[in-house]
Amino acid sequence: MALLKSNKVIYCLGNISPSLGVLSIRNSSWWGGVQMGPPDPILGVSEAFKKDSNPKKMNLGVGAYRDDQGKPFVLSCVRKAEAIITTKQMDKEYLGIGGLGEFTKSCAQLAFGNDNEVLKSGRNITVQTISGTGSLRIGANFLSRFHGGPRDVYLPKPSWGNHTPIFRDAGMQLKAYRYYDPSTCGFDFTGALDDISKIPEQSVIMLHACAHNPTGVDPRPEQWKEISDIVKKRNLLVFFDMAYQGFASGDIDRDAWAVRYFIEQGHNILLSQSFAKNMGLYGERVGGFSVVCKDAEEAKRVESQLKILIRPIYSNPPMNGARIAATILHTPELYSIWLGEVKEMAERIIKMREMLVAGLKKEGSSQNWQHVIDQIGMFCFTGLKPEQVERLTKEFSVYMTKDGRISMAGVTSGNVGYLAQGIHAVTK
């Protein structure tokens, strides 16, 4: 609208004085019509948090792990890997489009298990990606170009906020299946099965492998089995998003159970993996995108097309983080340190969940907070309503997203009592 208006002004000026009109065009901007983009809901939380001067303030918006002092945590296996890498004095030549081979191989092994048939047969292809986002985007682009089925991708309701724009930008359409039950703060199993049973054949269904974001609500194994059955019946293409392997339960095999079960059941899945959280490599952008194909020949064709998709976006992926991750995954000593540190992070979160619930009970809350303990991973869907969230922020300087989601990683033994106080105050 603004652009149309300014054109009118220019034409008027042009009529009065042609040279003035030209001058106006030169002095106006190409970008006059570009609107201010809406602020990112999660970043907005961090911005407001930064401005707050309350010494007791808490930032429960950010999805990054913090230690019990509230500080970022660089894993010691990462530091050790970096030291090893420095001594090797490697060159900085371009990686192939598909990334560091050592990394993609161990990335796949981590997800599927070292002895998985999909690895032995060569029918899996894994490419290195720009962390989880980059992986999802490549996957979305791949589906958009090659998937012969419906354009619809079914996300759980709710899902990670960025899923929708990623798929949309890639040209796919979004639909949802029931997932979170606000009345129980748990899994709407019947609703999910009901909705999934109605999804048109060959549609794409997105499943969070573990530690569902934002709710922290995961299906139990028996429930996964039924989901697998119905998905198979409907002939749906499964796209797993696994951003928290190891981070959810503390056990990497347990967290990958659903992915491996689906493979076993014959689903040829798409899989996005991120090493941002489980290795604390956030800013290094380490991820993988896998396609489990019919056979090795198909995997080769798919790989060639993935490269064609990647090349015009960023040519080839960054080395540093992948090299660190590969070193950890390949070096037995570092691998075992890593398993320990992942467990440590997961256990601290679990402990914070328990302490929060204990704290709420101590405050005298009569609400049922069991879901805080039942939910898993970094996030907790507290069940707080927007007005309660607003009060919590205004009166207690506790910053979180409007949907009631808190990042447990931002909770420490030092501030969990204060958090319990605040939550109780707004919910009693």
């Binding site: 609107q35 489009i97 962390s131 396609v291 019919k294 064709r301 015009p312 992926p317 960054p318």
Partner: protein
């Protein structure tokens, strides 16, 4: 029945296939003149001494962590990188109308710029806006703009094969006759693949037409410092266009001039009319970044930022860059001298007139095939050679091979 049974095998990217073939070749005197990466006189990759130094600093700094960068990237990187292109004292920077997006290499910067233009330039989502790339150009330019959604990516006249130089008349002619608001991808210096750059006078003529016809300026700057050995000299065209008042994009790569190829260090510098326009543009760039890679990788940007913001390290870097540029200049001089000494038919002045990493030899595809198959010298089908692939040890063999090729094919 697989969902992907219709997926056909894609052809491999030519330049990478060339390297692969080279690697598989057992011939002892093989030479790789393909991929655009710097090599020392021993034919080895070169990690810049200043980079090694800075990496040590980073790895020993316990205060650093691996947290997410902001969506638009490391602030110190973005601003210091833009300063490199525009100059420390750039009026546009002082006027607060220069911004930047840290991207994954030059490719990523081109991609972000292309995605933004497709959404917001020349109306909303106007995929029909013509995008002009030089004939010839870097083979990925076409794909970047096409994948961003532009339907109409066309060549503009650039290389005069007959005279082995710039086809200025053709270039200007395309600028005069193209649809208004067309986007032009300009190589800031060291044109890839021809190594042929406009002179300052020619740039002035180009700028005049572009301003008059309201064409969009999109610079691709992948070799700043690498062309002449002097950063400011290599940025002359960019700075001239800024001084002429253009709003423009400049995709910068630090792959070559920092030797940071695999860390994917790039910067999309945005010059806007004013701070308000810049602000809105950056806010929309964030949306595009968020659905592509969320936020960029930190290691490479850190290395560059630390280097550029320390006077000592910055000096050392400039020397490292000059070392690379000087070796290339030496190889150019020597190759030409040898071909002339051999009496190889044709003129070879273009080898020293051309600038940067690449040279368009003028060899035709049959001659190239002969070079690859018979002489085990790997170069692109276009006749493009990477001067960095030449060393004091192989330059005689290469000169003789060119001689043999030209006289027999």
């Amino acid at each position: 029945m697989s969902v992907f049974c219709e997926v056909s095998q894609a052809a491999p990217v030519a330049v990478f296939k060339l390297s692969q073939d080279f690697n598989n070749d057992q011939f002892p005197n093989k030479v790789n003149l393909g991929v655009g990466a710097y090599r020392t006189d021993e034919g080895k990759p070169w990690v810049l001494p200043v980079v090694k130094k800075v990496e040590k600093i980073i790895v020993h700094d316990d205060s650093l962590n691996h947290e997410y960068l902001p969506i638009l990237g490391l602030p110190e990187f973005r601003s210091s990188a833009s300063k490199i292109a525009l100059g420390d004292d750039s009026p546009a920077i002082q006027e607060n109308r220069v911004g930047a997006v840290q991207c994954l290499g030059g490719t990523g910067a081109l991609k972000m710029g292309a995605e933004f233009l497709r959404r917001f330039y020349n109306g909303n989502n106007n995929t029909k806006t013509p995008v002009y790339v030089s004939a010839p150009t870097w083979e990925n330019h076409n794909a970047v703009f096409a994948s961003a959604g532009f339907d109409d990516v066309r060549p503009y006249k650039y290389w005069d094969a007959e005279n082995r130089g710039l086809d200025l008349a053709g270039f200007l002619g395309d600028l005069e006759s193209c649809p208004a608001h067309s986007i032009f991808v300009l190589h800031a210096c060291a044109h890839n693949p021809t190594g042929t750059d406009p002179t300052q006078d020619q740039w002035q003529q180009i700028a005049e037409v572009m301003m008059r016809r309201n064409l969009f300026v999109f610079f691709d700057s992948a070799y700043q410092g690498f062309a002449s050995g002097n950063l400011d000299k290599d940025a002359w065209a960019i700075r001239y266009f800024v001084s002429m008042g253009f709003e423009m994009f400049c995709a910068q790569s630090f792959s070559k001039n920092f030797g940071l190829y695999n860390e994917r260090v790039g910067n999309l510098t945005i010059v806007a009319r004013d701070a308000d326009n810049l602000k809105r543009v950056l806010s929309q760039m964030e949306k595009i970044v968020r659905t592509t890679w969320s936020n960029p990788p930190s290691q490479g940007a850190r290395i560059v930022a630390v280097t550029l913001t320390s006077p000592e390290l910055f000096s050392e870097w400039k020397e490292n860059v000059k070392t690379m540029a000087d070796r290339v200049l030496l190889m150019r001089a020597q190759l030409k001298a040898k071909l002339q000494a051999l009496g190889t038919p044709g003129t070879w002045d273009h080898i020293t007139e051309q600038i940067g990493m690449f040279s368009f030899t003028g060899l035709n595809s049959k001659q190239v095939e002969y070079m690859v198959k018979e002489r085990h010298i790997y170069l692109m089908a276009s006749g493009r050679i990477n001067m960095c692939g030449l060393t004091s040890k192989n330059i005689d063999y290469v000169a003789e091979s060119i001689h043999a090729t030209v006289t027999s094919v």
